[in-house]
């Protein structure tokens, strides 16, 4: 159960020096994608930060989100954060099982009513009264409602919890939905991704730990600090796009030279995520750097995009709506960027900004 000590006290008990604490604050600020100028503020807040209780519920999911978190590459910072928070309930990680586990959840909810963080991964099935997925005889729907009632805030980890994810893919037999489709009266932060970048999950929890509040969110409930820019804008291959240098296949000269993967179906222009900077596997690489286009896994509906290798702007059917017509301008840009003048390039870029997953689906 959560103990009322500050983080600084918790670190001191572990023999961490002042310099060690400053280092921890620096790494935490970096984890939260805050500018280094805010490190003193992070330090001041962390000195006073209390230990929050966290209840983690896993519903219709593949455990990839928990795998992502436990394989994260900043173990010192993250383990200290996780040692500091009180993870009172987590199916996969807890030692307790059966009645004891459910009792721990109920006890944490009672003791920290109104104060605990509820983390959810996985979607919630609504069909057949939610009977497609149950835990200890309780449907996911019922458990979510019960736990959400006393939560201070909810963090939906992974695209399944945020927007329904793969269980919601057509024809969606279980009637899967994301958390925000059910809970309407609590602050919810979405940390989508399939799986989400581990440092982003921890960054959001660290924000709550440091500032006692949720970070600023975009229109899809995602923290702007991590999801504020799209993959295309932050991609190191972007200059090749500007020059009209594209890989046409996965083994041609363009692919070998690291040219833009746009024509191979990269969804970078419509995907907002932090992969381009936070990367995976101890900061080694990310899909585009490995030679594969972005699949848009942090966007609602990415599972029904219509094909991982379908280029965003290539029209395959009748073009009717204004948005798709705008996308078509992007097609022209994609096909002959090298010959385009500057104004056309700007128009193409503008067209890409207006394109959404819905627009994409209208093409098919």
């Amino acid at each position: 159960m959560a103990e009322e000590i500050t983080l600084l006290e918790s670190l001191r008990r572990r023999g961490v020096s002042r310099r060690g604490f400053l280092k921890f604050c620096t790494a935490t600020a970096s984890l939260m994608a805050l500018p280094p100028a805010l490190i003193p503020r992070v330090a001041a807040a962390l000195e006073q930060a209390k230990r929050p209780s966290v209840i983690w519920l896993s519903f219709q999911e593949c455990t990839g989100c928990t795998e992502s978190l436990t394989r994260s590459h900043a173990p010192t910072v993250e383990s200290l954060i996780f040692d500091h928070i009180s993870l009172d309930y987590h199916h996969t990680l807890q030692a307790a099982a059966g009645d004891a586990a459910e009792h721990a959840r109920e006890e944490a909810m009672k003791q920290h009513h109104g104060k605990y963080i509820l983390v959810v991964d996985g979607s919630i099935p609504l069909a057949e009264n939610g009977n497609y997925s149950t835990i200890a005889g309780i449907s996911n729907l019922e458990m979510l409602k019960e736990c959400a009632e006393g939560a201070a805030a909810i963090v939906s980890v992974g695209t399944c919890a945020a927007y329904g994810g793969l269980p919601m893919a057509k024809p969606n037999p279980t009637g899967a939905v994301g958390v925000s489709e059910i809970i309407k009266d609590k602050p919810i932060v979405n940390v989508p991704g399939c799986p989400p970048i581990p440092t982003v999950i921890t960054g959001v929890l660290a924000h709550f730990l440091v500032f006692g509040s949720l970070p600023e969110l975009d229109h899809l409930g995602r923290p702007k600090v991590f999801f504020g820019q799209n993959i295309h804008d932050r991609c190191y291959r972007r200059p090749f796009y500007e020059r009209g240098q594209f890989a046409e296949t996965f083994d041609d000269e363009g692919a070998r030279k690291g040219w833009c993967l746009y024509k191979l179906g990269c969804k970078g222009p419509i995907t907002y995520n932090a992969c381009a900077t936070n990367k995976w596997n101890e900061g080694t690489s990310w899909p585009v750097e490995s030679g594969h286009g972005c699949i848009g896994c942090s966007e609602p509906g990415f599972w029904d995009f219509g094909g991982l290798y379908k280029a965003l702007s290539v029209p395959t059917g009748n073009i009717g709506s204004t948005a798709v017509a705008a996308a078509a301008l992007g097609v022209a840009a994609g096909a002959g960027l090298a010959a385009m003048n500057r104004s056309k390039k700007q128009a193409a870029a503008k067209a890409h900004e207006t394109m959404t997953v819905t627009d994409l689906n209208k093409e098919t």
């Binding site: 961490v16 020096s17 002042r18 400053l22 620096t26 970096s30 280094p36 200059p239």
Partner: protein
């Protein structure tokens, strides 16, 4: 595995060309920061974790900065390496966890990196620790020399030894 060893394998990684990466813009940013340090005395911290580096970008940047004459290693919550680059006032501060995995890489443009300076709170602690050590020493001495002047209480006019 002599048969496999006989197979000639060539491996080639094509890094993004220098003009496509982020090393050059960062060098410009460092120049602005250095100018600010020179003219206004204001230090700057750049977090390289927030920069979208492509293959080869980081190596190109570090090669351009070069190596200077000062380096230090701090052991606190894992090692931290601090190195001045060949450009005076431009420091690389590399934070590692206890398993020596890099956590954060900062470029600090300052007269002296922040983490090298002694924290004020540590000086308070150092005073208390020194007082304890002196106290222990004095008692050890007084125990071995019964009746000596050292049995007397410490002079209260010496504030750093009092309390």
């Amino acid at each position: 595995m002599p048969v496999l060893d006989a197979v000639e394998v060539s491996w080639q990684a094509d890094a993004a060309p220098p003009e496509a990466g982020n090393a050059l813009p960062l060098l410009h940013e460092i120049r602005h920061a250095l100018l600010r340090l020179q003219q206004e005395g204001e230090p700057t911290l750049l977090d390289l974790s927030a920069i979208p580096f492509g293959p080869g970008d980081r190596d190109r940047l570090l090669a351009a900065l070069g190596e200077g004459e000062v380096s230090a290693r701090i052991e606190a919550l894992g090692p931290t390496l601090i190195r001045e680059t060949a450009l005076a006032g431009v420091w690389l501060v590399q934070y590692f966890d206890p398993d020596e995995q890099e956590l954060v890489l900062h470029i600090e443009i300052s007269h002296c990196p922040r983490l090298l300076s002694t924290p004020v709170e540590d000086i308070d602690l150092a005073l208390r620790q020194l007082d304890d050590r002196l106290d222990t020493q004095l008692h050890a001495q007084s125990d071995s020399e019964p009746g000596s002047d050292l049995d007397q209480p410490l002079d209260s006019s010496a504030p750093h030894l009092a309390g």
